[in-house]
Symmetry: C2
Subunit: 190 residues, 2 copies
DNA sequence: GGATCAAACGGACCGTGGTCCGGTTGTATT
DNA sequence: AATACAACCGGACCACGGTCCGTTTGATCC
């Protein structure tokens, strides 16, 4: 491993928090796509350059905002009450997981969209889900290319796919859930 | 049905062709994300406003460019040689379809990305694929919510998913194909 | 062939994401 | 505590997507 990166300076860390808080506040009140970088900068009382140094891009900032709720969700998967959390049989957990992920994606749709590539790829947000599904599949005795099988199961829950179905084709969420359950049962093999 | 929309004026139609040709030329030579709207406008010898009136947005223009190759692909699915085209048994056709779609998505990745929402949703590009898969599934005697099952099968071929796997995780295309075949067999039930 | 009117045209203009660089502030060293 | 250096700060600046509106052009009807 290379030497660890130099620690963040105190003022820098403080500004990160300030900016993040300001961004979150603005997103909640005005809605994601009314939040410009200039707005965030002035709301946080810093220069625009600071925003971009800390968060790389608008997408990066949005990803950081998204990350807070995402972390919360992950916590409830790892340690929350069953059937989402541990304690329930694997199949029940898997189904609960899918439903929860589906709802979560729809709820923070606009934020995910604004986060773009930075949202899904980095921070291993998708990687966590994949790992969890892989674990449950193994638990269920499924054989094969587990990483890719997990990806295949997760793919229909991706926002791009969901939006097409919910917004364009007006399919109710319950039907999406039912169809996903069906998919999972077929893949697992009952 | 409402009265049909007024026909396009001659100069408008001519300009659409000119613009589309210019855009295609520029995309091929310089690469998608070096193509600005101003560039296309001056290359086509028209004003910027004309571009936006014809194609709504940059995404719309890119979608139109993409549409040409997409149409070609659809033709080879409907009427090309087997196993992609008609003549082969349904399962073979389905697998060939998946592989072909996967490759096609990767080939025009940047264009699809540039087309954004306009690319996948409109023009029923995705709708065509869904319809075709639905047809093949029915042919294979699969029962259940066919439209959603088709979507679920198609989802892992979506560009967002593929890019994560190919670029981020360095998974070779052959393995993706094999995994997709596996998925399909599980869903169909051999 | 004019007259008429809707539709298409084009380029000046604006907002926003993103960069850059001179000045400032925090941190390590003696 | 003073010095030195790196990291941080901020706002002027740029490029690009998108809009607007006065002008031109092509279809239609007499």
């Amino acid at each position: 491993m290379a030497d660890s990166p130099p620690p963040e300076r105190a003022d820098a860390a403080r500004n990160r928090e300030i900016i993040l808080a300001a961004a979150l506040r603005l997103v909640e009140t005005r809605g994601v796509d009314c939040v410009t970088m200039d707005t965030v900068a002035s709301e946080a009382g810093v220069g625009k350059g600071t925003l971009f140094r800390r968060f790389e891009s608008r997408e990066g900032l949005m990803a950081a905002v998204l990350n807070t709720s995402e972390t919360q969700w992950q916590a409830s998967v790892i340690g929350g009450p069953p059937p989402l959390g541990p304690g329930a049989p694997p199949m029940e957990r898997l189904l609960a997981f899918g439903h929860s992920r589906l709802r979560a994606n729809l709820v923070s749709a606009s934020l995910i969209e604004a986060a773009g590539r930075a949202g899904q790829r980095s921070v291993a947000a998708m990687s966590f889900a994949n790992m969890h599904v892989r674990y449950l599949l193994r638990e269920l005795g499924v054989e094969g290319d587990l990483p890719l099988l997990a990806t295949a199961i997760l793919a229909p829950l991706e926002l791009v796919v969901l939006e097409q179905q919910v917004e364009r084709e007006r399919i109710p969420v319950e039907r999406l859930e039912a169809a996903w359950d069906d998919l999972v049962r077929r893949v697992v093999g009952h």
